[in-house]
Amino acid sequence: MPFLHFRQATCRLQSCPNHFPSQLELQMHARTDASSEQAASWPEEIFSILQRFEVCQVPYVPDAGHSQLIQRVLGSSTMRGISLTTEEEGVALIAGAWAGGQRAALLMQSSGVGNCVNMFSLVQLFRLPFFTLVTMRGEWGEFNHWQVPMGSTTQAVFELSGIRVLRANTAAEVSEVVEAGAAQAYNACTPTAVLLSQRLIGAKVFVK
């Protein structure tokens, strides 16, 4: 099962089937890779934080930047990974989970944030302890310009929807930022999105 989800994550990345990265693009990605080469520990740090905050439901739309975390969640005995068909399902799921007494965290890519806009109404209306981790596209060495419009407006969309935005740009700050975000979301009922920058995730995943 985890393998299946991992493959789905790969599929989503290759949603631009006729595009083959040029040599120049590959070089750009190679440069941005430097920060992520040793970064395998931050998804594990996020997993530990979600565990510590007793998050039980983890809805997601696959993204390569989240693939390691998704695998950990699917293998966890305390968290349930819930594969969605569209990100807005996750917002509604979080509302139901909260009504039933469970914490949830939504994993998605920046393009998915746009899919959620009307459903974000629930975050305010139900005063949800909403927490989401968003892997960014379209902001750092992006090779697919179709990712740029949504990547450029992700933060503004959240803020217009009444959701606070925190950002982690480097592997070293992921733990601190995610911890702060989870604390304000779950303890203070302050809806929060943590953006995991494309620089952090590295472009390596796009070319595989």
């Binding site: 039980c56 439901q57 349930r80 819930i82 594969s83 969605l84 068909t85 569209t86 807005e88 399902e89 996750g90 917002v91 509604a92 799921l93 979080i94 509302a95 139901g96 989970a97 909260w98 009504a99 039933g100 007494g101 469970q102 949830a104 009307n118 459903m119 109404s121 629930l122 209306l125 139900f126 005063r127 302890p129 009922c189």
Partner: protein, 196 residues
């Protein structure tokens, strides 16, 4: 397109909720949530006034959080069509305690009665089955509804999906409370959860 055996929506919903015991009921945006209010207010009524397309997912989140509590989502064909992908998500998770009932009048009744996809091409029972919800059925009589209502208490045998063709009469509105935070906090309280 058959117009025979159309049931009265209020009779369907009151039958579903009559002996509900601890069941949580999520009412989709529109007339369905009003039907729930008409059947009588309840601490475990999750009234929706928006978030169109999200009713099934709210039911799923609740059902997964409380596996011993029956959860029923009562919604309309338009709301269900908007969240059709969520049937695949339910099919994957297979919560035994979740049931979905669509009150299908083949129209967007709240906005002037515009014809919906279920009037001609969309077969929601077929969609639910194809999404892995094997207990998916069309119900045409109140006797079937009553038997189905009793089965909702079995929290191991779901997920269930039922489509009920109802008549398109626009009934007098019975409006539930609108305060979302109160509605959720009340459900949480009835489940023994403390306020934040």
């Amino acid at each position: 397109m058959s117009k025979a055996n159309l049931l009265d929506r209020r009779s369907v919903v009151s039958s579903l909720l009559k002996d509900r015991k601890g069941m949580v009921a999520v009412g989709g945006l529109g007339a369905s949530t009003n039907d729930m209010a008409a059947a009588g207010d309840h601490d475990r009524n999750f009234y929706l006034w928006g978030g169109m397309g999200g009713a099934v997912m709210m039911g799923l989140g609740l059902a997964l959080a409380r596996p011993d509590t029956p959860v029923v989502v009562i919604t309309g064909d338009g709301e269900m069509l908007m969240g059709m992908g969520s049937l695949a998500t339910v099919g994957l998770q297979k919560p035994g305690n979740l049931s979905i009932v669509v009150l299908d009048n083949e129209a967007y009744g709240e906005t002037g009665g515009q014809v919906s996809h279920t009037a001609s091409v969309a077969d929601l029972v077929g969609v639910a089955k194809a999404c892995g919800i094997s207990d998916a059925r069309a119900m045409t009589t109140l006797a079937e509804i009553a038997a189905f209502a009793a089965s909702l208490q079995d929290v191991k045998a779901g997920p269930r999906f039922a489509n009920v063709k109802i008549d398109a009469a626009n009934l007098e509105r019975v409006l539930p409370m609108q305060d979302g935070t109160f509605i959720v906090t009340r459900i949480r309280g009835s489940l023994g959860l403390k306020p934040i």
